[in-house]
């Protein structure tokens, strides 16, 4: 009974992460696109939960009789099996398991919205997100968590560094490649910063995400086991704290001043990277993993922006993809009974599958309905263009960049 209750509480915590994503992303983008980004974050919760109840859960956890290692499907909708509400199903009910996993699915989809912000057509984004979260997320998730080939190989991803964060991160990467940078981001080959409009809102988002992560990782124990849950809380917290430290030091050293947006990203990078091995590492190892994640996330943001010239307004690829890869590797390096080689195989397989499918969906959407708003709409802001309303009516906002 207490296990069931704990997973439901964790579900609530994972749900509140959507508020964290919404505030973080709107804070780190321009005021003229705030309604649009909030709209995307709200609809993603709906898309994630509805598609997961329709096909996702059945694709991800097809059950013994259907699991072929790569693909399985146990039918449309969610129907509790015989004894789904009793101890015969487990120490929690079928409904509990569904809603906890459904909340995760929505989280994976929401990662993309920040990366493609300020220039993607709303309709195109919604189509892309719906198809991606309905099919790609549950199918690759099944490989590891639903009894598939990666899980049998011994691939260790405790709460989803790869299956949630990297999956979303790969889709985000494909999205920013297909979309191209925002107007005014690169002028004559030089990077122009486009600052977010509300750093306090971004800070609230980072703290709420950290708060929700106790459910994300803590709930993934799938038991209210005192020893396991308390270890996960310690490693999760230390990882985030160390991520802040690593990012602060790196940004202070490279940029000469400590950059708050980098530090917020550092805390999230620490959290993402600790997610793969939170159950099988020591607190000291979690600090090492977090510090490295903090350093790497700052370098990754600068690399994406200056070297490969991909425009990611909120740094979603650096936080979720790069840190997700690092965390998955770290679980192989530090974890007990895990193998770096198997972790590498998993990272590569998931990466290839997600990139190929994301590109396919994006190009299909691009040729069917187009993917980018007009240059004029981008300048005026998507709030007016897509929604016909402003986020801050009555405020004088410069819409000149």
């Amino acid at each position: 009974m207490i296990d069931n209750l704990w997973i439901l509480i964790s579900t609530i915590l994972v749900f509140i992460m959507h508020l964290g994503f919404a505030t973080l992303e709107s804070g780190l983008t321009r005021a003229k696109n705030t309604v649009n980004i909030l709209f995307k974050n709200v609809s993603i919760v709906a898309i994630g939960l509805l598609t997961y109840s329709c096909v996702g859960f059945s694709l991800m956890y097809p059950g013994e009789s259907f699991a072929g290692g790569w693909f399985g499907f146990s039918g449309f909708g969610i129907r509790p099996p015989e004894g789904g509400m009793t101890l015969a199903y487990g120490n929690y009910t079928y409904w509990t398991y569904f809603i906890f996993q459904g909340m995760f699915a929505a989280t994976a989809a929401t990662i993309v919205s920040g990366a493609v912000a300020e220039r993607i057509k709303l309709s195109s984004f919604l189509i892309f997100a719906a198809v991606f979260v309905a099919f790609v997320y549950p199918i690759v998730g099944m490989w590891g968590w639903g009894g598939g080939w990666l899980g049998r190989l011994g691939f260790h991803d405790f709460a989803g560094s790869t299956f949630v964060h990297s999956v979303g991160g790969w889709a985000a990467l494909a999205g920013i490649i297909v979309l191209g940078p925002r107007n005014g981001k690169y002028v004559n080959g030089h990077v122009r910063p486009i600052p977010g409009h509300n750093i306090p809102l971004a800070a609230i988002g980072a703290f709420i995400l950290w708060f929700g992560w106790y459910g994300f990782n803590g709930g993934s124990v799938l038991k209210a086991d005192p020893a396991a849950v308390s270890l996960v809380f310690v490693t999760t917290s230390l990882g985030a704290a160390a991520g802040i430290l690593g990012a602060a030091a790196t940004s202070w050293f490279i940029q000469k001043k400590p950059d708050i947006s980098m530090v917020l990203n550092g805390s999230l990078a620490g959290l993402v990277s600790i997610t793969a091995g939170a159950d099988c590492i020591t607190p000291l190892e979690s600090v090492i993993i977090g510090i490295i994640a903090g350093i790497v996330v700052v370098l990754a943001v600068l690399f994406f922006e200056n070297v490969v010239k991909l425009d990611d307004p909120v740094g979603a690829t650096s936080v979720h993809l790069v840190s997700g890869i690092w965390g998955t590797l770290a679980a192989g390096i530090f974890g007990e009974g895990t193998s770096v080689v198997v972790q590498l195989i998993g990272i590569a397989a998931i990466g290839a599958a997600c990139l190929v499918t994301a590109f396919t969906i994006l190009f299909a959407v691009k040729s069917l309905v187009g993917i980018r708003v007009s240059a004029e709409e981008e300048m005026r802001g998507l709030d007016i263009g897509e929604h016909g309303m402003e986020a801050y009516p009555g405020f004088q906002i410069f819409v000149t960049q």
Partner: protein, 113 residues
């Protein structure tokens, strides 16, 4: 000396700036402005109710120039801000009797620089 005041569409500011720079006019002031002209406004909706926004967002440019730069400056603003649709804006040209640079105390043509 002339003072050129122009009202343009906010999203054309970058184009106008680029055109001005290419004619070596670098000193401009920009403010947010609200106004309405022939276009009157546009419609927004809030909680499902249509509302007419009467005053449109505009950008007000102020540029003080010496006489030889008046023509290039006007040219630049028109080239940068013109789309051919209603709402492109207006340019006003005023005589400028005096200009003083605070740092050096220079006056007149020198001060515009």
């Amino acid at each position: 000396m002339k003072l050129i005041i122009a009202y343009i569409q906010p999203h054309e500011l970058n184009n106008v700036k680029r055109e001005l720079y290419s004619r070596e006019i670098f000193k401009i002031s920009v403010t947010n402005a609200l106004g309405c002209g022939q276009q009157r406004g546009y419609h927004e909706s809030y909680r499902g109710v249509d509302s007419e926004v009467n005053l449109l967002k505009k950008i007000r440019l102020e540029i003080a120039v010496n006489d030889t730069f008046v023509e290039p400056c006007i040219e630049a603003i028109i080239k940068g801000a013109r789309t051919g649709q209603i709402g492109d804006g207006k340019i006003f040209i005023l005589d400028l009797p005096e200009c003083i640079r605070i740092r050096t105390g220079e006056t007149g043509n020198e001060a515009i620089g």
